[in-house]
């Protein structure tokens, strides 16, 4: 109590949290039941009690510097044991939604992609772009537009050249925005740690150390859903999420392979088109498994969220539903495009294909701007949590990593 701190409440921040689904935040009376009930809350830095207080007081910078909100998977245990109906789980969800917007660059994209009308608009705009590109490309190839003649094959509409022309700039934007978001988030939470050297610098890990010592274990944990599985009342939600995550990995992998074989190997060797692959091709089999897992996973997530929302265990915001339906559309149009191609129904197949490409681009563009960004920030928080432990224990930060890499490795081996 040696020095007094004047609290400057950020009223706009409180309002933002309340509008994003955290309207119950002011009911909290700080009994801390939530922090004990939470199966994921840590011993040293329990949550979500402190976040509830910061949100009530409008301490936006405190919240911004807090990685713990990202360690929550919104199981709703805290909300059902909350004596006041303050719904801490929902408030943390709202804080996360707000944080994504806070770190989004440019903000206009975040505002657009977090409303249903904005997403529909984006999908339609993307369809228009694809049609224009397709038309221009047909002038070059001489195929008829919009439905090329003969057996349905999507490379007749677009080869990799027009696709890459559209997708690569989007990839560039997404990578840039993700990098900006993650680095500002890291800077904020690192400042929140309050560990400063005598020269005033904050501890920051070297990239190699960061990847090998912290990112790899964090990703392993995420792939296994270790924490999500501990999530009390809604642990079943983890199953759908796990299926979905693995489907994304599988689809990312097959897309990468096809990109490499088609756009490099076949091009350089002048072999023509690698796609469409026959159904017995292992890559195609894998791709179909990925697509089915995607649909099944998102369907499980949808069912569970609907049920838990009806029960009042967790609250769902517009953003939650947008992401679910967008992923569902990507999966459904993907499978639809393949299905109608096999039936050789040209008008339907090419239409569905255009919608598929439009939803894929929209989903991809959403990555740093919508709830989809939990992938970035939660992973960062997982990494940061390990790093924070080491810094506080004097085992990392300010160049100390190098000296203790050998003992750290033996420790981790023992644990395994």
């Amino acid at each position: 109590m040696s020095e007094l701190t004047k609290v400057q409440p950020d009223l706009a921040f409180i309002k933002g949290v309340m509008e994003a689904g955290g309207d119950t935040v002011n009911k909290c009376y700080q009994c801390a039941t939530c922090s004990v009930i939470c199966p994921l809350s840590t011993e040293e830095s329990p949550f979500p009690r402190k976040e509830m207080l910061w949100a009530q007081w409008g301490l936006a910078s405190k919240i911004a510097g807090d990685a713990d909100v990202w360690l929550c998977h919104q199981c709703g245990d805290c909300s059902s044991y909350c004596p006041r109906g303050a719904q801490p789980g929902d408030v943390l969800g709202a804080i996360r939604n707000n944080a994504i917007k806070y770190y989004a660059e440019p903000k206009a994209l975040a505002n657009m992609l977090t409303t249903t009308s904005g997403v529909l608009g984006t999908v339609i705009a993307a369809m228009v772009v694809w049609l224009i590109v397709g038309y221009l490309w047909s002038l070059h190839t001489g195929e008829s537009f919009p439905f090329p003649e003969g057996t349905v094959a999507y490379h007749k509409l677009f080869t990799f050249v027009p696709i890459d022309l559209v997708v690569l700039p989007v990839v560039g934007l997404v990578v840039w925005a993700s990098y900006k978001g993650i680095t500002s988030f890291w800077a904020d939470i690192n400042k929140g740690l309050g560990v400063v050297s005598y020269t005033g610098t904050t501890a920051s890990p070297a990239l190699g150390v960061l990847l090998s010592r912290y990112l790899v274990p964090a990703v392993k944990e995420i792939l296994a859903h270790t924490r999500f599985n501990k999530c009390g009342q809604t642990a079943e939600r983890a199953k759908g999420h796990k299926w979905l995550l693995w489907s994304f990995i599988i689809l990312f992998f097959v897309t990468g392979i096809v990109f490499f074989i088609n756009d490099f190997v076949y091009l350089l060797l002048g072999l023509g088109h690698f796609t469409p692959m026959p159904l017995y091709n292992p890559i195609k089999i894998l791709a179909n498994i990925g697509a089915i897992m995607m649909i099944a996973g998102i369907w499980m997530i949808l069912q569970m969220r609907q049920q838990k929302t009806e029960e009042g265990t967790l609250k769902s915001s517009e953003q939650d539903w947008i992401l679910i339906w967008l992923i569902f559309s990507v999966g459904a149009t993907g499978i639809g495009a393949e299905f109608f191609r096999l039936l050789n129904l040209a008008p339907v197949a090419y239409t569905v294909y255009i919608i598929h490409l439009a939803t894929v681009v929209t989903l991809f563009l959403s990555l740093p701007y919508t709830k989809f960004a939990h992938m970035l920030y939660r992973t960062t928080a997982y990494v940061y949590e390990q790093w924070r432990k080491d810094v506080l224990a004097g085992k990392a930060g300010f160049g100390m990593e190098k000296e203790i890499i050998p003992p750290a490795e033996t420790v981790s081996k023992e644990e395994e």
Binding site: T33, V36, E43, P83, G85
Partner: protein, 414 residues
């Protein structure tokens, strides 16, 4: 039209209301469900504000009751229904059989003849009683009770023959009594909130998790452990005791209101434990300590000055088995110090709150709110904990006020 007043409940509030109304010159019927008067206060070891044993306040009221011819009282009696309106209520009472005659003041011979033991509800099951018993040594009326259903018929006849001739009447039957009264005072009091409802506090899983009312009985010289607050598992004096405040109170999943008395009850019980064992460490886990008024605040300050008493701001939301046999671990977040606390204690006390009797047992014709508190209506006045959670002092005050209100009702109607 009637000028008489019915008081339902013979605890501190009901007794006060009854004697106050009678001393103003009105005929009073006092109905008590238990075999003894004094209600919850009779179960306490000591009570605020003077920290004297219950006899010190109850005795004087018993004397006023005994010596006032205007009061007719019934024990083991329940109000079955109420109808009519202010000035003219028709009330049906059921008076259950006591199985003994008024000269039966000592159960000793019968108790020796009895063999069956049943849990003693007066001591919250911490010990047992026989089929013939007195709830506690200072019970008023000072008359034994025969619990015919507690033992087989041949044991009941053995008890009857062991007792002096004519004292025990096993075949006594319940009576129905019709009353016509002008006003009703509801002083039906409260029950301790059932701790088993808080699944995370595991009351039924650990023997050494007790409630604050159980501590009162243990601390009472006439209680099951002769005044020692011990661990039920091994009857040892605990070296560490943890108090879990707001166990059920201020919680919309249980009791949405503050029960008012639990903070002071805990601070009082700290003195019992420190008197029993000067080396005991006590941990009090709380959300806010509510010590209303100057006297209570000073008492809180006094307890806070004791360095063996540790206050932790944070509610216990999990209780698990400890490392030592019988011990339990209380888990809370220390909201001031930061971090989670896992405190192992020999004995954990749940400061359970008050639930009005109306939450479980409602009388047809009486209106209750969602929590079971009696709603005041013309001619029907609640007082004490039937109205809202209060301490003994406030109960007595609200009972006096209710007596005045009842008198006004019958005068206006008459």
């Amino acid at each position: 039209m009637s000028n008489s007043i019915l008081v339902v409940g013979g605890g501190f509030s009901g007794l006060t209301a009854a004697v106050e109304a009678a001393e103003m010159g009105y005929d009073v019927y006092l109905v008590e469900k238990e075999s003894y008067m004094g209600g919850r206060v009779a179960q306490l070891n000591k009570y605020f504000p003077k920290l004297c044993p219950p006899t010190c306040g109850l005795e004087i009221n018993f004397k006023r009751l005994k010596t006032n011819p205007r009061i007719t009282f019934y024990n083991l009696a329940e109000v079955e229904s109420v109808s009519g309106s202010a000035g003219n209520f028709n009330v049906t009472l059921k008076v259950n059989p006591r199985g003994t005659t008024p000269q039966c003041t000592s159960c000793k011979a019968g108790e020796e003849a009895a063999t069956t033991e049943v849990p003693n509800e007066f001591n919250f099951g911490l010990d047992t009683r026989k089929a013939i018993y007195k709830a506690h040594p200072m019970a008023y009326p000072n008359q034994c009770v025969l619990d015919k259903d507690a033992a087989p018929a041949d044991e009941i006849s053995a008890i009857a023959s062991a007792m002096p001739a004519g004292h025990v009447v096993p075949d006594q039957e319940a009576e129905t009594v019709q009353l016509n009264v002008g006003a009703i005072i509801m002083a039906t009091g409260w029950k301790p909130y059932d701790p088993a409802n808080m699944d995370n506090l595991c009351f039924n899983s650990f023997e050494n998790v007790v409630t604050n009312m159980m501590v009162e009985r243990m601390a009472s010289p006439s209680g099951p452990t002769e005044g020692k607050v011990v661990r039920p598992s091994d009857k040892e004096l605990p070296k560490t005791v943890g108090f879990v405040q707001c166990a059920g109170s201020r919680d919309q999943n249980h009791l949405p209101y503050c029960s008012y008395i639990c903070c002071m009850a805990t601070l009082k019980q700290v003195t019992y434990i420190r008197e029993n064992n000067p080396d005991a460490d006590i941990y009090i886990f709380y959300i806010d300590i509510r010590s209303p008024g100057r006297k209570y605040e000073n008492f809180y300050k006094k307890i806070k000055a004791d360095e063996k008493v540790h206050f932790i701001k944070g509610k216990v939301a999990e209780i698990k088995a400890g490392s030592a046999p019988g011990s339990v671990v209380l888990v809370a977040e220390d909201t001031i110090g930061g971090g989670k606390i896992e405190q192992e204690v020999d004995l954990a006390v749940l400061a359970t709150g008050m639930q009005p009797t109306g939450a479980h047992d409602q009388i047809p014709g009486i209106e209750y709110d969602d929590d079971g508190f009696v709603v005041e209506k013309d001619g029907i006045t609640p007082c004490g904990c039937a109205k809202r959670p209060v301490d003994v002092v406030s109960s007595a005050q609200s009972a006096t006020a209710a007596a005045l209100r009842a008198v006004q009702t019958v005068r206006r109607a008459g």
